[in-house]
Symmetry: D2
Subunit: 302 residues, 4 copies
Amino acid sequence: MDYPSLLEQVVDATRPYLGSGRVADYIPALAEADRHRFGIALSTVDGQVHGTGDWTEPFSIQSISKVFTLTLALARDEGTLWRRVGREPSGTPFNSLVQLETEQGIPRNPFINAGALVVTDRLLTLADPDDALLDFLRGESGNREIQVDAEVARSEAEHGDRLAALTHFLASYGNLENPVTSVLEQYFGQCSVAMSCRDLAVAGTFLARQGIGSTGRRILPSRDVKRTNAVMLTCGTYDAAGEFAYRVGLPGKSGVGGGILAIVPGRCALCVFSPGLDTAGNSVAGVAALDAFTTLTGWSVF
Amino acid sequence: MDYPSLLEQVVDATRPYLGSGRVADYIPALAEADRHRFGIALSTVDGQVHGTGDWTEPFSIQSISKVFTLTLALARDEGTLWRRVGREPSGTPFNSLVQLETEQGIPRNPFINAGALVVTDRLLTLADPDDALLDFLRGESGNREIQVDAEVARSEAEHGDRLAALTHFLASYGNLENPVTSVLEQYFGQCSVAMSCRDLAVAGTFLARQGIGSTGRRILPSRDVKRTNAVMLTCGTYDAAGEFAYRVGLPGKSGVGGGILAIVPGRCALCVFSPGLDTAGNSVAGVAALDAFTTLTGWSVF
Amino acid sequence: MDYPSLLEQVVDATRPYLGSGRVADYIPALAEADRHRFGIALSTVDGQVHGTGDWTEPFSIQSISKVFTLTLALARDEGTLWRRVGREPSGTPFNSLVQLETEQGIPRNPFINAGALVVTDRLLTLADPDDALLDFLRGESGNREIQVDAEVARSEAEHGDRLAALTHFLASYGNLENPVTSVLEQYFGQCSVAMSCRDLAVAGTFLARQGIGSTGRRILPSRDVKRTNAVMLTCGTYDAAGEFAYRVGLPGKSGVGGGILAIVPGRCALCVFSPGLDTAGNSVAGVAALDAFTTLTGWSVF
Amino acid sequence: MDYPSLLEQVVDATRPYLGSGRVADYIPALAEADRHRFGIALSTVDGQVHGTGDWTEPFSIQSISKVFTLTLALARDEGTLWRRVGREPSGTPFNSLVQLETEQGIPRNPFINAGALVVTDRLLTLADPDDALLDFLRGESGNREIQVDAEVARSEAEHGDRLAALTHFLASYGNLENPVTSVLEQYFGQCSVAMSCRDLAVAGTFLARQGIGSTGRRILPSRDVKRTNAVMLTCGTYDAAGEFAYRVGLPGKSGVGGGILAIVPGRCALCVFSPGLDTAGNSVAGVAALDAFTTLTGWSVF
């Protein structure tokens, strides 16, 4: 496979979508993003890394962090996590409290906000997750400069009433082990990590490599990797997971910063970035690029 | 009307219900209440006060406070309150977040928890409500000893995650003027006021007297009194307001402490107290007593 | 009380609202109504009848029929009706299926469509309700010409998919005694009765007269009359019952034909008619007229 | 791959689950099924067919028919179907009306009942679907004996009030092209087709063979096959699609008759059958067998 040429074809197919969509504007730090930025990176299971466009420029990873915190929690958890959070698509917006009330405090999956808060809470109990997450991302990506963007984190906290509501709601159902304020602080930090397409693709490659990380050590059992990919496919792109499976056909996790991490099991991890979002919160140009990629390669899982 | 004899007949009719229901147990301070306690007081528009049973014993007024905070807010508000809270029965439990999400942060009425938090917030802006509420209750009841029960207030705060969730949720919709913590602290204090049936009936008599208080001063315009009574009738007894109107036929406001304040417009205010609650959160013996009262007197508004 | 002069004052106060609102357009037969038509009639417990405007002109009574079918069912029922339908305001639109699914086939009250279908079904079992309803309306109003408007009934049936959905849904929960088609046919007929303000006010006067009808015979026990008035107040004006209680303060039942029947217990029944509806489905000018009426007379129940 | 030995290993792993779960009992014709029956068949893209247990015994295919009607509709449709039905997991039970009301008559996906009714309606317009479906199933499976089980179809119709409610509800939103009764009759017939594991696996092999049917003709474009597989994975097993993806990791479609059709893209189609259902409506032993199959082969798509 001539990856550089493939990525150029993807960029060509994506060009009409650049500038489309709406930039996330619930916090000032994200609202300033330029909708015309676009990057794509690809990291193969045998160690090749390719990219084009703004692929080395850091952006706010936002909900893509949920894949990594889930990985870290699963690696340490001994069977309690899946009693506190489900694995079903939610059918409701990512930040809805309705589902949580209907289902008595058990979030539908670890990728909606309520579920990710439970994962964060579990990780807070199991490890010192500040270090755990940054250590992991730095180690797997090979980039020691990865940091939490303090301004974004502060901005998230200042506009975090809905997340505070969700967290207190979880606590009211007895589904938190740590104090609300600790969980929220941790959560805001995770979402505010800044990384590039390159770093994310490389750090996510263990999901294409049956759980083996960059340095050859096992990060997750192969069984848990398949399961994580399954949850990404059914729940990873907010309330448009069905559409993403239909168009792209790969496990993927998006963030409102405009990034999407996608996995081709056995082959590679991909990361695209472009800040313009569709109504479900996924990058318009990002989804278009991944759609073009699976059409050109035939590498959908279906 | 021979009120003492009437009240004895009411007590006779209510006896079979004493000990029924479940005591509110979400905080320890309430869970200790004795389900066999029962009191009733009646305060007429011409100044008579009658009572029997545990009618002078203080209990936690809980949501009955919502009538008085609404009164104090309406007396000071200049037309903004009803833009921030509706006047419709909710069709959902008193502490539901679902309705608030469906209707974008506007609580359905001032007597569900979300609506009462908006009223408390409004009152925090308009007056120093600690003093305002206690001053009002002491002044109207003539009992200078009325206090917040500090233990109950502390217990409410310790078990207040669901209310914290509601308050942050309101804030996330921009429907709060004051900080979440201030509103919550104020709210817990109001619910934790301890009063007797006698004190509540006397303090509520202005609602039967077209807005004129104990000392002859006007508390609310007659028009607002009618409206407050209307909201009590349609929304005052949680998700059993239709049943209460059907059986009792009076404006009423209940609290999970076991009290119910009811108004016979033009005649009197009544307060009953018995801690055993039905599934909707209303005092079983209290509703039975008011049912007997309107059956014996024919004084339903219908 | 000088009723003719009172009604003229009401008309004066209502004039600014004439022509406001939207005419019900879900069936052609209603869509042609003139929003500027307005009538009001008043029928006292001692037999006086007054009216002005289009008060003798027949219109489609629509959901006002639900008061009379409830009356007829209650008069014949021996305690099963209230096990099949509740008495709580619904907090949802009148034709919602959501509530029915949430509460397992038990409609919240007899005045939302699902509840009225259960009442109609009960009445189908207990009596020949075609005759029962028309006989009753003709007998109480003294107008032997009252008829079902066949064109409206046919039009209702042709556009009746949502009602058919509700009826099948009730059947699926085992909450129907008669075939779906029979219940629907009956229901469409009831809604399509054409009556004037005069006829409706006179026919409804028993609700102000503690259950005694025009000819002096008892139609309902006094206790059931109070209860019916209570259900009208809490549930009679769709999802705006709280607002109606707040503004008007009387038991009332509206229909999308533009009519509203209201009861002043112990004094009189009123009927207003004007086809322009607000977003909740209540006549804009009708509510304004009743608001003016209770303001002028002070005869709100509160 | 030694398929016969593989299937025996699957059967061994499944044995502990035989007899578990609850048989569908909403119609008598299904309630009689024996929970200890179990069959599995496998049909490869290169024409091998293997099976064991009750793999040639016909059972009621129920919702598995939805895969084939979707295929037939997509093969004939020119772009209108996906405007009338979505592609998202629903997050609600398969027969819920709530979602339909919330989303204004557009079913979330073609595999919940409401969505399948829209597909059936579309197919009624595009072809004579009685013949179309049976012709297709007979042609692809090579079994000319496949029939609708008339007793099951009659039983479905007799207990079909909830489906009638859904269909009228769709009609009320203008999302039907044909009369309610025609759509329902057609739908009941489709669900009542009786087929064996063998027949279903063989008939479904085109979904593993990029759209090429048994006789070498193209049934669907390769792109639509991938998309159909994607919808099966995200929406094919009722409100347990996330769990199925997590445990099994294959596109699959279940029916309350106890069958599940699963696709291994590029390799084979599988059909399992055992009548005991879990609370979501999927065969307990069937899911266990597919779980064992992907564990033994490593052929999950993830």
